[in-house]
């Protein structure tokens, strides 16, 4: 079994930012485990430009941000980057097990930063398991990473930013988007994205839900229906759309399997996408050896994930290194950047969610009682 200062699980924006920052601050013995055989996580399929106030990345496309990180990482040869390494478990004695090249390895890090990201949510409706029903992220992967269109005619479910952006990317790739439907009464995504869709002549139908998918071996159609303000179906409004693909953009949920195994106190917070680890302001969990950064601690976007990765790395460095003066200043500026990013009405939701779990000893006390260390 190998020992190391820091193990980072996940090579997306949070994990990459954490690895680079930790090394910059003087940690030498760092492992970065990435399940895929490429780095960048979901950045590699994001062809849209980032918005927000973060100087470094606003106006840059996700795919280009991934390249910037990869170049920075390549210069830091000391960091042990394992692509194709799947973290399999976090054990009681703080040992991290992972598989790599068909073998199983064990690692005992002084600190671990979990940056495992998120997975897509499903929606319950008849025939929702048919081939041709894909998560919005899957559609992006297929189109933007492999250059393959998901189908000819598509129904987009969900008018948040992801639904709108992916609908637009489908248009760019030459796919017909029949409609974007949204169960609530309003469009959740930014107006700029919505108006691009409308200008292309695609209806965005609010107060509409999917009733069922049609087809035997794969999707051949979708039945949609109107909802009233109490979320009840409006009789007589069901209609069938001839589509071969249904794209679900109904949100993400944090990937927290390793956090639960590590005994981290968990809480259910709807604003953050589901079960999330309880963290303090330093992003440390109830297991003092484990930090969590990015979407795996609550759904936000890549810029926040990058800043959280850096913040976690700064705090790990404070735990491990003796000279801490510089670190305290870094810690402060990174927190301020995060605060600025979450300012205003767009960040309200995230702020509310984070407040529920920060410094709250009772958050989620009944959940996962087996691992509750209170």
């Amino acid at each position: 079994m190998k020992k190391c200062d820091l193990a980072i699980v996940g090579g997306g924006p949070a994990g990459l930012a954490a690895a680079i920052k930790a090394h910059e601050l003087g940690l030498k013995d760092i492992y970065l485990l990435e399940r895929d055989n490429f780095l960048g996580g979901q950045l590699v399929k994001q062809t849209h430009q980032f918005f927000g106030s973060h100087k470094q990345f606003a106006g840059t496309r996700g795919i280009d941000i991934a390249e910037i990180f990869k170049e920075k990482l390549a210069k830091r040869e000391e960091i042990k980057v394992l692509k194709g390494a799947v973290a399999q478990g976090y054990y009681e004695d703080d040992v991290l097990g992972y598989s790599y090249n068909n073998s199983f390895y064990k690692l005992k890090p002084k600190r671990t930063i979990l940056a495992t990201g998120a997975s897509e949510k499903m929606l319950a409706f008849p025939n929702n398991d048919l081939p041709g029903i894909y998560g919005a992220g899957a559609v992006q992967t297929l189109m933007n990473q492999y250059g393959i269109i998901p189908g000819e005619d598509i129904l987009m479910v969900g008018a948040g930013n992801i639904g709108l952006i992916v609908a637009y990317q489908l248009l760019q790739a030459g796919v017909k988007v029949k409609a974007v439907i949204e169960a609530t009464g309003s469009i959740g995504g930014y107006a700029v994205h919505a108006s691009k869709i409308r200008r292309a002549g695609i209806p965005i139908l609010t107060n509409h839900t999917i009733r069922e998918a049609k087809g035997k071996e794969e999707v051949e159609g979708a039945v949609i229906q109107e909802l009233d303000d109490d979320w009840q179906l409006v009789a007589g409004t069901a209609r069938e759309l001839a589509v071969d693909t249904i794209c679900l953009a109904v949100g993400l949920t944090p990937k927290v399997d390793l956090a639960i195994q590590a005994g981290c106190q968990m809480a259910y917070v709807a604003e953050l996408g589901g079960d999330v680890p309880v963290r303090d302001d330093c992003l440390q969990t109830s297991n003092p050896r484990v930090y969590i950064a990015g979407d795996s601690a609550g759904i936000e976007e890549a810029t926040a994930a990058i800043l959280e990765g850096e913040l976690a790395a700064i705090n790990v460095a404070q735990d491990i290194l003796s000279d801490r003066k510089e670190l305290i200043a870094e810690d402060k500026t990174t927190r301020e950047k995060l605060k600025a990013l979450r300012k205003g009405p767009v960040g309200e939701h995230v702020r509310k969610g984070l407040n529920k779990v920060r410094r709250n000893e009772d958050a989620g006390k009944d959940r996962y009682s087996r691992s509750w260390k209170g």
Partner: protein, 104 residues
């Protein structure tokens, strides 16, 4: 179908390779995953579910959900959405749970 002209992205497709799906020859490009190459060839059903034998395609395309399991070169439960296609690879539709007993 493969995208040929994209306003932002360029896809490198200089060398064609061949693999087999249920005995049928399929053309692909290095770097594509098995599931995406099959999708480009119009094949979206990858397996059948274990209980009700319903058709299964991929869902997440990033290795999270296990919806894309197929038998690859005799090995069952391969996540075809993340494993890259290789020259001469033999890919078969998977029925229900894969049998690992031989491998153990």
């Amino acid at each position: 179908m493969r995208i040929k002209n994209h306003p932002i992205l360029d896809f490198a497709r200089d060398r064609e390779i061949t693999f087999y799906y249920n005995g049928q020859e399929i053309a692909a490009y290095p770097g594509e995953t098995i599931a995406s190459a099959l999708h480009a060839a119009g094949i979206r059903k990858l397996s059948t579910s274990s209980k009700h034998h319903r058709p299964r395609g991929f869902f997440c395309a990033i290795g999270n959900c296990s919806s894309c399991f197929m038998v690859v070169d005799g090995e069952p439960n391969v996540k075809t959405c993340v494993v890259e296609v290789e020259e001469g690879m033999v890919v078969e539709e998977q029925e229900g749970r894969g049998d690992l007993s031989e491998k153990m």
